[in-house]
Symmetry: C2
Subunit: 400 residues, 2 copies
C-alpha cells in the first residue's frame, strides 16, 4: 500500500483550524525595561532560570533591579532537558510561598520546565503531577500565569502551549500541551543572544529549521500562505544562521534568527496543514540513549527520513527544492536529491554533524531505540501514520 501516492492524486484542501496566540511579544534591544509593567502589581513572583549564564551575564541582576520592591522568589538549576525531579522542587516552593506569577529567564528548557511548574502547582495535591504528562495536558484545568525573558532562540516555547519534560528515574522524555501554560508575554531581546556559545547558536538554528520542515515537508493541501511563510522562515535561517557564527554581535542577524525561531513554532505555519514530527520522535530516543543534544539528533535523523519518505513527500520536496534551494533543472529525482543534500550540507556548515557515527557513538543501539519507540507507542508516526518500526529501523540504519 502506498498511502502517499493515493493522497497525492486526491484534491486536498486546507484543514479547518483554531489559532489562538495571545502571548504579547516585546521585541528588541532593551525591552527588559518593559518587564515591570507586564506584571501584576501585587504579584508574588517566582523567577526561574537554568545554570549560571544568566547570573554571569548580569541579566538576572538587571531583572532584579527592574523589579525592585516587588515580591520575588528565585529557583535556579533547571537543566537542559528539564527533569521532573528538579522541577518538583520548584513546585513545592511555589505552593509554599503562594506564588502567583512565574517569570522564566532562559531558553527552551527553562521555559518548558516553567510550564510544568505552572501546571503542577495548580494540580490536585493528592495526585502526582507526572500524570499531567501521561495525559498530554488534557487534565490541566488551570496554571500559575507565566511570562518569559528569552535568551536562546530555538524551541518557540515562548509563544506556544507545549513543553517537554524528562523523568530521570525512568528515562522518559514526554510532552504535554495546555492553553493554560501559554506565556502571557515574552521579552525577545536579540542582544541577550550575543554571548551564546557557538554550539547553542547552531543547535538553535537547526532546531528551528527542522520545526519548520516538520510542518512543511508533508503533502500539499493548497495552503499557500502557510507554505510561503514556512519558506520565508527557512530562507531567513539559511541566510542568517551561518552569519551568526562569524558575527556574533550583528544585531540584525540575531534579530532575524530570534524572530524566525519564535514564528517557526507558534502555530501560525502549522495552522490547517498536515504535520510530520517523526524526526522528533526518532530523535528523542537518541537523546535518551546516547545523550546527543536535541538538535543534533534531528540533524542526524532528518536527511535519512526524507530519503525514506521521498515518495510520500514527493510534491512538497520538489516545491522545497525550487523555492528554498532554487533547484529548477535536472530530473525530479535529481532535484529532490539535491535538496536533501543541500539540507544536510547546511547543518554541517552550521557545525552540526549529520551522522550518528560522527558523535563518537560506538554502536547505534538500534534494537534498544526501536524497543523504546514501541514502549512509547511510536509505531505509526509521520503525517500518514505509516512509519512503523520496520521503517524506523531503516531510517536509524541510514542515519548511522
Amino acid at each position: 500500500m502506498r498511502p502517499g501516492r493515493q493522497i497525492l492524486t486526491k484534491a486536498m484542501s486546507m484543514n479547518n483550524f483554531t489559532l489562538h496566540t495571545p502571548t504579547k511579544i516585546l521585541f528588541g534591544k532593551g525591552q527588559v525595561a518593559q518587564l515591570r509593567e507586564q506584571l501584576p502589581r501585587d504579584a508574588r513572583i517566582l523567577i526561574t532560570y537554568g545554570g549560571g549564564s544568566v547570573v554571569r551575564s548580569g541579566l538576572l541582576a538587571q531583572i532584579r533591579s527592574e523589579l525592585a520592591g516587588m515580591t520575588l522568589f528565585e529557583f535556579g538549576g533547571i537543566e537542559p532537558n528539564p527533569t521532573y525531579e528538579t522541577l518538583m522542587g520548584a513546585v513545592e516552593l511555589a505552593r509554599a510561598e503562594r506564588v502567583d506569577f512565574l517569570l522564566a529567564v532562559g531558553g527552551g528548557s527553562v521555559l518548558d520546565g516553567t510550564k510544568f511548574i505552572a501546571a503542577a502547582a495548580h494540580y490536585d495535591e493528592s495526585r502526582d503531577p507526572w500524570h499531567i504528562l501521561e495525559t498530554v495536558g488534557n487534565e490541566v484545568r488551570s496554571a500559575i500565569p507565566l511570562g518569559a525573558v528569552l535568551t536562546l532562540p530555538a524551541t518557540g516555547s515562548e509563544m506556544n502551549m507545549g513543553a517537554v519534560v524528562t523523568r530521570r528515574s525512568s528515562g522518559d522524555k514526554v510532552h504535554f500541551f495546555s492553553p493554560f501554560v501559554m506565556p502571557r508575554f515574552a521579552v525577545l531581546d536579540p542582544v541577550l543572544t550575543y554571548t551564546l556559545p557557538a554550539r547553542q547558536v547552531a543547535n538553535g538554528v537547526v532546531d528551528a529549521f527542522i520545526h519548520i520542515l516538520e510542518q512543511y515537508l508533508t503533502y500539499p493541501v493548497n495552503a499557500k500562505v502557510q507554505d510561503r511563510f514556512a519558506e520565508g522562515l527557512l530562507l531567513t535561517l539559511l541566510e542568517e544562521g551561518p552569519k551568526a557564527l562569524v558575527e556574533p554581535e550583528n544585531y540584525e542577524v540575531r534579530a532575524n534568527i530570534m524572530w524566525s525561531a519564535t514564528l517557526a513554532l507558534n502555530g501560525l505555519i502549522g495552522a490547517g496543514v498536515p504535520q510530520d514530527w517523526a524526526t522528533h520522535m526518532l530523535g528523542h530516543e537518541i537523546t535518551a540513549l546516547h545523550g546527543l543534544d536535541h538538535a543534533q539528533t534531528l540533524a542526524v535523523v532528518l536527511p535519512a527520513l526524507l530519503q525514506a519518505k521521498r515518495q510520500q513527500k514527493h510534491a512538497k520536496l520538489l516545491q522545497y527544492a525550487e523555492r528554498v534551494w532554487d533547484l529548477r533543472s535536472g530530473s525530479e529525482a535529481e532535484r529532490i536529491d539535491g535538496a536533501i543534500a543541500a539540507t544536510r550540507d547546511f547543518f554541517e556548515r552550521m557545525g552540526v554533524k549529520t551522522r550518528l557515527r560522527d558523535y563518537g557513538v560506538a554502536d547505534a543501539g538500534i534494537d534498544t531505540l526501536l524497543g523504546k519507540l514501541a514502549e512509547h507507542g511510536m509505531t505509526a508516526i509521520g503525517e500518514h501514520g505509516d512509519i512503523d518500526l520496520v521503517q524506523s529501523q531503516h531510517i536509524y540504519e541510514a542515519a548511522w
Copy 2:
C-alpha cells in the same frame, strides 16, 4: 533635501516592537457551529449587521439558531463607511439593554462600526463619543467585548484594534485604535464568501494587496521575515484573486484569500518596519468627495504615488520587482517601471480601474482634495513624512 537617499545609505535595523494579537481565529467550513462556546453563557448579546445580505443568505437565521436560548438583541443597517449617526443608535440600544457582548456579522464596515459601538457604550456618558475619534482612541479605557463572523475578506479588522468611522454631518472619515476593541474571536468561513458580488471580491483583494504594500514598499530595515511574509501574501493574492472572480465556489481559492486578507493587517508584517499609509490618506479624501469605493481610491492613488516616490522607495521597489513579479533583467529603472505597471495591470484585471477619470468623475477637484488634506493635518505623510501638499497635488494629478 532627499531624505530617502540619505536613509538608503544608512545601515538600518528593525525597530523595536510590541505585538499582541489575542484574537482567537476559528477558520474553515462550518465554523459558525463553534460560535456558542465562544460566548459567555449568561451574556446579553447584541448582534450587529449591515444590509440585507446576511438576512438573504440565511446566515443571520443560522446564527440565531446556533445561539437559541441565549439573550439576543439585534441592530442592522450599518452602512459601508459606517457613520457615527447610525452607530449612535446602537450605542443607545446597548446602554439601555445592558448589553455585555457584541457579535458583528459582516465585513469590515460592520466590524469597524461595532468597535465604535463597543468603545462608545462604555464611554463617559456626559461626553460625546465622537471624542473617541478625535483622540484616536487614546482615551478609551474599556469597551464591550466583541467577536465577529466575517463575510467579506478585505480590511483585516477582524484581527486588529483599528476602526474607521465617518460622520455624515461633517463629512469626516477618521480612525481610532484601542486594544480594548480587538475582537475576542473571529469566525472565518470561506464558504460564506461564495455569494459576494464580484465588485466586493475585487475590492477586497485590492484592499488587502495595498494594505501589504503600505507596510512593505518603504525602505529596507533588514527585517527579513516581515519582508518574506509580505511577499508571500502578495503572491498568494496575485495567484488567487483572479480565480475568485471566475470560480466563485472554489473553496481553496476563497480560503487562501480570506486568510491572506486577515494576515495582511493584523500587525504581523508591520511589526518593526516603517510604514507608509499615504495612499490611504489621499484615497480617503477621494471617497469623501467623489464617493468612490475605498479600494477604488487606493487603486487610483497607489501607482501614481509609487512613481512619485520611486527614488525614496528605490531599494524596496527593486526587491518587489524581483521577488513578486520575477523581473530580473533590464536596468533598475526598467524593473521598477515594470513592477509599477504590473501592479496597475493586476488591479485592472481584477476589474478595479486605476485612473480617476475612468470613474465618470467630471473634474478631479484637486483643490478641494488638497484643502481637505490640509484640514485633516495630512501635510507631512508617508514613511518619511515628506509628502507635503505640493507632492500630494502632483500625485492627484498623475492619478487623474
